[in-house]
């Protein structure tokens, strides 16, 4: 303030306090001002219930269902490389994903008493972390929804759906980068929803988001919403400038470390600045080239009748997807209509919308890419439910969601707790069915290998077995996935010489044959298919549509 500004007045005595007002002003709930209702006893009970439910629904049967997935194997294999070889991959790391996820997995496994084998095998060890991450995410989802909506009911509904949705259980039990990314992204939102949004909170939120970004890059779709939320939280505060400067800094710090890593390895830019997608540079991998390649990948099969939406996601949980999308549209409408009062709806709606856009925009989408959408849809359903029931009598407010929850759990058609099996009988849904031990099939496969295959055999397999064969004695150092055998020069050319006769065994995982076919556009898997033609089946097991086999090459 310039000197010519009016200085404070001299007072003859201490100023008299203004007359006490008759009534304290009611402090309405406000997301932008950090006015959230306190978590009272009933809220705490609801939260504990949500956490316990999450522990049960995701923890029970965790190691038996679903089947170990290729990608679970890849992430555990890379975590193994971090711990055992101080590298980001046992093969050439080609920047297909940022390494935050498997660095976390490595950090988890490293201090455990038997490291990767603590929970039976490497993927189980990763899955136990997923359980812990799920419980932490339930807490974050509960609190974020409660703070955005001001209602415990909304938070309870969101957490309930997130805990019991078969879609959620299926994908969140698996060791997936998406689950870890979502934890960090929600943590970032949660930090921005503290009562006070100070500089340290902006820094922490930015850092958490940066870790989300280097865990899985698709977190980038949440940036606009998070930046807007930060802006709304700090726009009238004293540390505004510092918070809005340091949030992006903290966000970029982990990303910068990743880029620096590539730079130090001389793998940031492709040799000769060659970004030609038809003719990729051959002498070394490149972060920017891989990024460019990923941006230009397209698939566009999500919404077709045989696409993932209709073939996989809707059959697993059409109720949450449908209700979630409707709720998202309502939340967006309310949020856009009154951004000041309905900031919470705007945040929840745009988070879900941004991720939905990512899924439907036409790039490559894998089955598990839906995982991050689930908590966001649950959040929107919870918030809209809370708003719609806000003026109803408490009996209705509590009773209606309770009834809906009971129907979801008890109606066999939903597949939430019960299901109708192929013989038309009602039974416990797959995710809880004690008679269904899918991963046991993979354990039997491993047992057969250990008994019948010599450790020096040259093996082509899928990644779900990789850690088991490389981390447990006797080691099978020449066992490699068909992905690496088809594309990594070290494996393809040096070990196998790209000749089918150099393969001793092919260990088929579920749907590996389809993967080989899909990955064979350039004929790179031809020599493996030739080996398959020249082999005899020596072991097999099947259950439903799952089939595991072992072939010995003649």
């Amino acid at each position: 303030m310039p000197y010519d500004q009016e200085p404070p007045q001299l007072a003859t005595v201490h100023g008299r306090a203004p007359a006490a007002t008759a009534r304290r002003p009611v402090r309405t709930m406000s997301v932008s001002r950090g006015r959230f209702p306190p978590l009272r006893r009933s809220g705490r009970i609801a939260l504990v219930f949500a956490l316990a439910t999450g522990f049960l629904t995701h923890g029970y049967h965790l190691f038996k269902y679903p089947l170990y997935l290729t990608d679970e194997g890849i992430y555990m294999q890379r975590a193994w490389a971090v711990v055992r070889e101080t590298s980001l991959s046992p093969y050439t790391y080609d920047y297909d994903h940022a390494p935050g996820g498997w660095l976390t997995l490595a950090g988890w496994a490293f201090p455990l008493p038997r490291q990767f084998e603590t929970f039976g095998n490497a993927i189980n060890t990763g899955r136990f972390l997923m359980l812990l991450v799920h419980i932490a995410t339930v807490y974050l989802l509960f609190e974020i929804t409660r703070r955005l909506s001001g209602r415990v009911l909304a938070a309870s509904v969101a957490a309930f759906l997130y805990n019991v949705s078969p879609l959620a259980i299926y994908f969140q039990r698996q060791v997936l980068l998406d689950n870890l990314m979502m934890f960090w992204a929600l943590l970032s939102v949660f930090v921005l929803l503290r009562r006070e949004c100070r500089i340290k909170h902006a820094l922490a939120a930015g850092l958490a988001f940066g870790i989300a970004l280097i865990t899985k890059e698709n977190a980038v779709f949440f940036v606009p919403t998070c930046a807007y939320l930060l802006h709304r939280r700090i726009r009238d505060s004293a540390p505004k400038r510092f918070a809005q400067t340091l949030w992006p800094f903290a966000l970029m710090a982990p990303v910068g470390a990743y880029v620096t890593y590539a730079m130090l390895k001389s793998e940031l830019i492709p040799s000769g600045l060659n970004f030609n997608l038809e003719n990729p540079p051959a002498d070394h991998v490149s972060l920017l080239y891989t990024l460019w390649w990923q941006i230009n990948r397209s698939q566009g099969t999500l919404l077709t009748s045989d696409g993932l939406l209709f073939a996989s996601w809707l059959p697993k949980d059409g109720i949450l997807l449908l209700a979630g999308v409707i709720a998202m549209v309502i939340a967006l409408y309310w949020g856009a209509r009154d951004r000041d009062r309905n900031l919470g709806f705007l945040v929840a709606g745009t988070l879900a919308l941004a991720y939905a856009f990512y899924l439907i925009r036409g790039s490559v989408v894998l089955d598990f890419y839906v995982a991050p959408l689930i908590p966001l849809l649950a959040m929107n359903v919870g918030m809209v439910t809370g708003r719609l029931l806000r003026r109803t009598p408490s009996m209705v407010r509590m009773g209606l969601p309770g009834l809906a929850g009971a129907v979801l759990l008890l109606a066999p058609a939903t597949g939430y707790l019960l299901t109708i099996n192929t013989e038309g009988r009602v039974e416990i849904a797959d995710q809880y069915n004690p008679r269904l031990n899918l991963t046991g099939m993979q354990e039997k496969q491993i047992a057969w290998i250990r008994k019948n295959v010599p450790p020096d055999a040259k093996i082509i397999m899928d990644d779900d077995l990789w850690s088991e064969l490389h981390d447990v004695k006797p080691f099978y150092p020449l066992a490699h996935s068909h992905w690496n055998a088809a594309s990594d020069p070290d494996v393809r050319d040096k070990l196998f010489g790209k000749k089918w006769k150099n393969i001793d065994y092919i260990i088929m995982s579920n749907k590996m044959r389809e993967s080989i076919a899909e990955n064979n556009a350039g004929g790179q898997e031809d020599w493996i298919l030739a080996a398959l033609k020249n082999s005899e089946k020596v072991w097999e097991t099947s259950q439903g549509d799952i089939k595991l086999e072992i072939y010995r090459v003649k």
Binding site: D4, P7, P8, L10, H14, R198, P239, F249, T260
Partner: protein, 429 residues
Amino acid sequence: MILVYAALVTISVLLTVQSAHVLYMMLYTWDQPKAEKRARAPERFLPPQYSFSVLLPARHEEDVIQTTIDRVVHADYPTELLQVFVICSVDDTGTIAEAREKIDELRRAGLRNVDVVVFDDKPVNKPHGLNAALPHTSHDVVTIFDAEDDIHPAIFNLVNTIMVDDGVNVVQAGVQLMNFQSRWYSALNVLEYFFWFKSRLHYHAHYGSVPLGGNTVFFKRDLLVRLGGWDDRNLTEDADIGLRLSGMGERVRVVYDDRYVTKEETPPTLGQFIKQRTRWSQGFMQTLSKGTWKQMPTRQQRWLAFYVLAFPHGQALLGFYLLFSVGMILVLKVPVVIALVSYLPVLLLTAHFLTAVAGLYEFTEAHGLEASPKAVLRMAIAWYPYQILLAYAAVRAMRRQLLGRHDWEKTQHVGAHRIQPGKSDSHAV
């Protein structure tokens, strides 16, 4: 080679932690609403209760001394409760003449509360001058302003109110360099003051270990007398007396309100800047080796005092490391993980720079000035050389300390913060 790696990782981690802590202190009041509230000036002033003796140590300040005297005697405070002493050594005839001329002029206008104290003994430095003037003071509170200071007219009301309200015996009010566009290093120098007085000093006050500033600091006179005045062999007598007071358990109230800061200028030349910074660094080194800080009652106080006083040593080492690190980037080939760890301090350096940019906009907005992208660009270019400059001054201080040279290298003042009519009205009276 493993030893080199270990050293590299250790130094990087230590630098990162230290740098993060400094960043925390820089942002302390912005980040802590309670601290910000404590730092604020009262919105209403109490009637004058305390009388003030103002000490104006001056050496070769012919250009600025008259304006400074004028500002003090015309402050918004009853004349009978103010007395002003211009302090000069006997050889500084120019400043003495200028001061006497002003005093005569004031006397003609009926103001008789200004005098000149001339001392003729050694050493010729600020603390000795202050000690020479202290016996002449008779008012309740003794305060110091530098000869080039632009004080706010309400500063005495402000301090009077705080002393009455809070019952404290020592108040440090804000000092702010203003001319952020004068030289290439000015913006960074200005921001150092901004973060120091607006934030970091409050952190020190909170933990009871305050290296006080050299001016706009107010002491109850009897406390100063009990303390025996200033250490006239110390080049940072202000920091020294602050830590001595903290050691006595004396609570220091720090107040920084953009409206009431005392305005100063950055040193006019690079040479002057280096001399000033060398003096401060050497003063901290002297205070550290003097060991008074060891008598502080709590470990936390001692640690904080040690941390501040030892900083110039660290800065000197950092200077060598900065140069060494450039060499390492070009020559040394280390594993990627170690290289990534060694980049951590660079990350923090970036955070410091971004904080400084935000601080520049905070500073200019608070004082009715305008920051521009050009100013930010200048800052970005100056950033690394400025760190080297600070390190150089610290090395120079270390050298002087080792050689036993403790003479006072005076900083020249030209009044660059006193804007001429027709220019910015940021602090026009």
